[in-house]
């Protein structure tokens, strides 16, 4: 390991590494929507950050210590002549005891803080102020239910900023993991079990998230967004969501509504007051959501058209095995009408 012989070169190398790290963390400020290294956006994520940062520092200390010793030994004790006859040291009880006990004590300290936080984070918030949400994992989209308001929506989780949100989660098929990194660490969403987590956002904002447990073919396309609203905006949203859109009676939208039934869409999707399918996302307020299909496509006419032409070509799914939306072989005219209907579901 004859690493960079001159101090100047070593300094330059160090500067380059430092610059790289600064660049990486600097970028994080604005452009890293799932970054957990800095800028947590809620009290829970912040607590996690405060817990890990000192551990990262301790790790950095040992990193520098060990690498420093290795590099020093490699340079200082390199063989200069084949006749060298080093002193045969077989060990040292004192030293070995030191590097057993010191790390053990340090780890005990880390352990105490870990356990304290663990039990703190396990507390379930109670009271009328707490918003309750049921998260249900599906291959490959998220269903969100608000039992207090009788709202069902998909992929887009609206919460009031500054309030604790108590989440109960389960899955209808395989194991998923619900992860909005800026607000909290992930919790697995397991069929047959109910897990709990708490999230809270400091201020209104739009927070990325996605499924973090491999859940089959389209695991990568199971994303979500947590949208924290001000209390007033949240109340408006709740009011909108609890009022079903009127069934269109004229034009393309009305024809689309008829197609929604005749083409079988209604067999999988619920539109309150019109259809009651339970396989796919609830579409009652489809047009209020910014993106669709596991939050991967912008919700606009162009993307909807592409989607309706052949869904499995847009997002890997396995409709032959009952997983995901099949190609319904719609004509362009039918697609126009269905889009008009979907647009009416505000």
């Amino acid at each position: 390991m004859r690493l960079s012989p001159t101090p100047a070169r070593r300094a330059r190398l160090g500067a380059a590494v430092l610059a790289l790290l600064l660049l990486a963390t600097g970028c994080a400020r604005e452009t890293m929507p799932q970054d957990v290294l800095s800028h947590p956006q809620g009290p829970i994520a912040r607590r996690l950050e405060h817990l890990i940062n000192p551990v990262f520092l301790i790790a950095a200390f040992f990193f520098v210590l060990v690498q420093g010793l290795v590099i020093y030994a490699a340079i200082r004790f390199r063989r200069r002549s084949d006749d060298e006859a080093p002193v045969q040291v077989h060990g040292s009880a004192k030293l070995e005891l030191t590097w057993t006990v010191v790390p053990a004590v340090l780890l005990l300290g880390v352990g105490i803080f870990t356990l304290a936080n663990l039990f703190f984070l396990d507390q379930q918030p109670k009271g009328p102020d707490v918003v309750q949400v049921d998260v249900i994992g599906h291959q490959w989209w998220w269903e969100f239910k608000y039992p207090q308001y009788k709202i069902t929506t998909a992929n887009e989780l609206h919460i009031p900023a500054g309030k604790k949100v108590a989440i109960k989660m389960t899955s209808t098929d395989v194991i998923h993991s619900f992860w909005p990194p800026k607000l909290a660490g992930k919790v697995d969403v397991i069929p047959g079990r109910t897990n709990h987590m708490v999230i809270e956002a400091d201020a209104p904002g739009n927070f990325f998230g996605q499924c973090a447990e491999f859940c089959g073919l389209s695991h990568a396309n199971m994303r979500l967004r947590v949208i924290a609203d001000s209390q007033a905006d949240f109340d408006t949203w709740v009011a909108d969501q609890t009022t079903a859109a009127a069934l269109p009676v004229t034009g393309d939208a009305a024809a689309g509504a008829a197609l929604f039934r005749s083409k079988g869409c209604s067999g999988c999707h619920t539109v309150d007051g019109y259809s009651a399918g339970l396989v796919g996302p609830n579409l009652t307020h489809f047009n209020s959501r910014a993106r669709f299909a596991g939050y991967i496509f912008d919700n606009n006419d162009e993307m909807l058209r592409k989607w309706l032409r052949n869904p499995p070509a847009m997002k890997p799914m396995n409709p032959n095995k009952g997983l995901g939306m099949p190609n319904l072989h719609l004509s362009e005219d039918e697609i126009t009408k269905l889009i008009a209907y979907l647009d009416s579901l505000k």
Partner: protein, 678 residues
């Protein structure tokens, strides 16, 4: 009844000539020499070469993964192809590369380092290899038979159930791993018995080379861990084939049962992968530092401690599954404390180098690289133990970075170091040092460029096992760096191949017995090692016995070279050494397993039954074949039986040489006979 057992009837029966089928094969060279071999050295080479070929396969899979992820929204692979490739990359690197390569080292080196002529059960050893090969080919045949396993190497239920994975992909994984599990279990038992029973006279446990200690601990871990995954796979098999509901929540089963079983195997498995490399590094560092291993007893104890503690940390793979704070806190603490014996090892390795006379051969570069890189993996491992924050880390690329620093920065660095170190002993030629150093630096730079950025990629929120990611995550350029690093690793591997297959082969065979000024018994033997290993079984007086024949210490502890008097040529005729006879039946029996597996995979029960009968037939013939050619004048021992156990000078089963045992003087009769019964 009495008449049947009447002795005179048996005595009256003339001994029939063995039917041709039952004669032992004789070839010791060429194709049949390799196919029928029971020589631990040949089996070791077969293991090593096979595993290296699978390293190229698993590496190609890694390159595909990196190509796909080089940029956001990659289009090199479809989602389904990506899921197959990442599943097979993990499965291959663990079960078909690191485990068999370490088995190759165990096979080749254990008898040489403990002064034995072979392992305890030579035919079982061959069976172990052929079973491994059959399992490896079976699981990879899925690529051309409709699709490789695609449920991840961890195969979480219920995604791997017949409902959610209806194809045969997962069946190949279920049966392939069961076959590989048989190979590992059988191999581990063989190594344990060899180490405990066949050490040279005088080699007490605390005079064993540290590599042998790590081999022993690893073998115990394997022997206990493989049955656990086998149970899990058995349950999954019943779910998939026969409609059982072990992991089906709708019928009262529990998907978390799979995770507990899998990780109760899976975490000791991590130590199965890393402990052998720790052993290799612990042999290499002293040799090239001209100093004994710092704190040998502590190194032994910490290795054993890791072996025990490795069973008590599995839930750290499951911190996000909602097990509750009590369970999670227990496993957080145990996970933190397994870092203590690991840290002790790291500091003791540095202590070994400290004050030494360090020669940077390629083997030493890899060993020092191991210490530096494994440390990084160990430190990130401690951060996982901080369980509340682990929920931010788990299932992201941060974990991918962590375990590659352990398994690549650790296991593979150690294995590469071991390869450069022991290559001359195995093949009689020294690998080219110049190319070796190019290999090391490219490998070192490529490794850090590939996996270093993954720490950031993960902490910036990119989950694992996704075939595509959003540009908005902002991790595109880091992923590009990582992909470039992976191709630098590829170049370094090509340099190694060029070195081993072209440059080194230009030299004549003729490496010196002891090219590195070694410390352990294998360096007393010619390179390559003759069939019979030791002409005379050595008598061991101390740890690093060979070193103490060459050097001593003066009053201040400094090294003093002894004038070694040339040992008088032995009067033992190598031809008089009776070696275990080759056999067809380990291979025959092993091939029954994939036949069974294909039958089960495709639910063609007759084929499965045929495979089982074939396997039993192979085992039956194995049991009945004679110990050597009939009428062989050396063979006066009758049919093969438990006599396999009798080693050259091995004491009885279960009674290793005690710590105070006076080493027995070897006599001519001690030295000449060898394994009987094979």
């Amino acid at each position: 009844m009495a008449t049947v057992l009447e002795p005179t009837t048996i005595e009256a029966t003339p001994v029939p000539r063995e039917p041709a089928l039952m004669r032992r094969p004789k070839a010791t060279t060429g194709f049949w020499g390799w196919v029928t071999t029971v020589d631990h050295k040949k089996i070791g080479i077969l293991y090593g070469v096979t595993a290296f070929i699978f390293f190229l396969v698993g590496g190609s899979e890694a390159l595909l993964i990196r190509l796909q992820l080089a940029q956001p929204n990659g289009t090199i692979l479809s989602a389904d192809a990506y899921n197959q490739v990442f599943t097979m990359h993990g499965t291959t690197m663990i079960f078909l590369v690191v485990m068999p390569i370490t088995t190759a080292f165990f096979n080749y080196l254990i008898p040489l380092m403990i002064g034995a002529r072979d392992v305890a059960f030579p035919r079982l050893n061959a069976f172990s290899y052929w079973t491994f090969l059959c399992g490896a080919l079976f699981i990879n045949s899925s690529f051309v038979l409709g699709g490789a396993p695609n449920g991840g190497w961890f195969g979480y239920a219920p995604n791997t159930s017949i409902t959610f994975s209806p194809g045969h992909n997962i069946d190949f994984w279920v049966f392939g791993l069961q076959i590989l599990g048989i190979a590992s279990t059988v191999g581990s038992i063989n190594f344990i018995i060899t180490i405990l029973n066949m050490r040279a006279p005088g080699m007490t446990l605390m005079k064993m080379p540290i590599f042998i200690w790590m081999a022993l601990v690893t073998s115990f871990l394997m022997m206990f861990a493989m049955p656990i995954i086998t149970v899990a796979l058995f349950l999954l098999m019943f779910d998939r084939l026969f409609g059982a509901n072990f992991f089906n929540p709708a019928a009262g089963g529990d998907p978390l049962l799979w995770q507990h079983l899998f990780w109760l195997f899976g975490h000791p498995e991590v130590y199965i992968l890393i402990l052998p490399a720790m052993g290799m590094v612990s042999e290499i560092l002293p040799v090239f530092s001209r100093k004994p291993l710092f704190g040998y007893p502590v190194m032994v104890i910490s290795g054993v401690a890791i072996g025990f503690m490795g069973w008590g940390v599995w839930v750290h793979h499951m911190f996000a599954t909602g097990l509750g704070p009590v369970a999670v806190s227990a496993f957080s603490i145990s996970t933190m404390f397994i870092a203590v014996p690991t840290g002790v090892k790291i500091f003791n390795w540095i202590g070994t180098m400290w004050g030494g006379s360090i020669k940077f051969t390629t083997a030493m570069l890899f060993a020092v690289g191991f210490v530096a890189m494994f440390t990084i993996g160990g430190l990130s491992g401690v951060t996982h133990a901080v369980s509340p924050h682990d929920r931010q880390q788990t299932d992201t690329y941060y974990v991918v970075a962590h375990f590659h620093y352990v398994l690549f920065g650790g296991a593979l660095f150690g294995i590469m170091g071991g390869t450069y170190y022991w290559y001359p002993k195995v093949f009689g030629r020294l690998l080219d040092e110049g190319l070796g150093k190019i290999h090391f630096w490219l490998w070192f730079i490529g490794f850090n460029l590939t996996f270093g950025p993954m720490h950031l990629i993960g902490l910036q929120g990119m989950p694992r096992r996704i075939y595509t990611y959003d540009k908005a995550l902002g991790v595109g350029w880091l992923n590009m760096m990582s992909t470039i690093g992976a191709f630098i690793i590829m170049v370094s591997v090509l340099v190694f191949l060029y070195n081993a297959l072209v440059v080194t082969r230009r030299q004549p065979v003729g490496a010196p017995n002891d090219p590195w000024d070694g410390r352990t018994l294998e360096w007393t033997l010619p390179s390559p090692v003759p069939d019979y290993n030791f002409l005379e079984v050595p008598v061991v007086h101390s740890l690093d016995d060979f070193w103490h024949q060459k050097y001593t210490e003066d009053d201040s502890g400094r090294l003093v070279k002894l004038s070694v008097s040339e040992a008088p040529p032995s009067d033992i005729d190598p031809h008089s050494i009776h070696l275990p006879s080759p056999s067809y039946f380990p291979l025959v029996a092993a091939t029954g397993l994939p036949i069974m597996a294909y039958g089960m995979t495709y639910r063609v029960w007759l084929v499965a039954i045929f495979g089982a009968v074939w396997l039993l037939g192979g085992l039956y013939a194995w049991a009945l074949e004679p110990s050597a050619e009939p009428h062989d004048p050396d063979d006066d021992h009758g049919p093969a039986d438990a006599a396999e156990l009798v080693g050259a000078t091995a004491p009885a089963l279960g009674a290793g040489p005690g710590p105070d045992a006076e080493p027995a003087e070897p006599t001519a009769t001690d030295a000449t006979p060898s394994q009987e019964g094979e």
